[in-house]
């Protein structure tokens, strides 16, 4: 019995689940399911006083995926900074493609963000 249990636990330990990386700042809408993942989310200031976000959107399918994304910028108090740069923007990813996205904050006071991705709306 113990041998069976030990064998089972070894087997379970061998199973690898293909799960998306978790980042509380990133929300992938349910309509995309696991079609895309968002990975390698980074913030940098580079040559500007404004933060620039870079993220990779990974298309896990063998077809073109049309999507929209938006980045909402937050100040030091976590309050949203309203801006036209936070409107939904169209994007697409070819089969198995990793698309690098960048978004730049509208004010130097923006220190955090929320990144949303959803399937392209009809007509968009």
């Amino acid at each position: 019995m113990l041998i069976v249990l030990a064998a089972l636990s070894v087997c379970v330990g061998c199973i690898s689940y293909h799960t998306p990386p978790l980042d509380r700042r990133v929300t992938v809408a349910p309509d995309l399911g696991t079609v895309v993942w968002v990975t390698d989310v980074r913030l940098t200031k580079a040559q500007s006083q404004h933060y620039t976000l870079q993220a990779n959107v990974v298309n896990n399918t063998s077809g073109v995926v049309r999507m929209e994304y938006r980045v909402v910028w937050l100040d030091t108090n976590g309050v949203e900074i309203p801006s036209v740069v936070s409107t939904w923007q169209p994007m697409s990813a070819a089969a198995r493609e990793i698309v690098g996205l960048t978004a730049t904050a509208p004010v130097p006071e923006a220190v955090d963000f929320r990144f949303y991705v959803q399937a392209a709306r009809p007509g968009n």
């Binding site: 580079a46 040559q47 500007s48 006083q49 404004h50 620039t52 801006s83 036209v84 740069v85 409107t87 939904w88 923007q89 169209p90 960048t102 978004a103 730049t104 904050a105 509208p106 004010v107 130097p108 709306r121 009809p122 007509g123 968009n124």
Partner: protein
Amino acid sequence: MKKIISGFAMAAVAAVITGCVTPTTRIDIHNDRGPQVAALDYRDLQEAASAMLQSLFRSGRLDRPDGQAYVMTVGKVKNDTPQRFDTDTLTSYITEELMNSGKVMVTSAMAATADNRDEMVNAARSVRGNAEFNQATVAKTGQLVAPTHSLFGKIIQREIRMDNGDKQIEYYFQLRITEIASGLQWWQKQHLIGKRTDARTPTW
């Protein structure tokens, strides 16, 4: 009897006509699920403005070493499309965000178009020496701030007939900023939005 029948007929016609009318609804500008249009609409302007602004913010050009704000004037932004719309629908997104960034002030004393100039700047000065006005409250000479930079550009529409007879429309949004003292171009960005539609669809 005839009157009753014709009354019913008219009511039926009215019902059919009423049934064909699309009721007026508000656009949900945050989650617009309306179909695309061949002409430029607010979604295109927002997309172009967003791309322009992010390019400018990312460039670091606005980060003045002394922390002071630049003074910008709005030059000519040409609408080089057959569509009739005011290019301020694009530039006001830009100037609003630039001012919100704290790095740019926009002058209303000088601009390429009258719409972007505030006539009151000069009108308020025309009362110098007028006894009806407390002269201590009238703007003094030498107080207007000259612009350091100018924003200008154009929106171009290019139509291409496709092999299948459909129409491809390319919209080029071009904005540039000139440093006025040197005359050198300081920043520029072109953003392209392309659409395909039936050849008979008008854009104007």
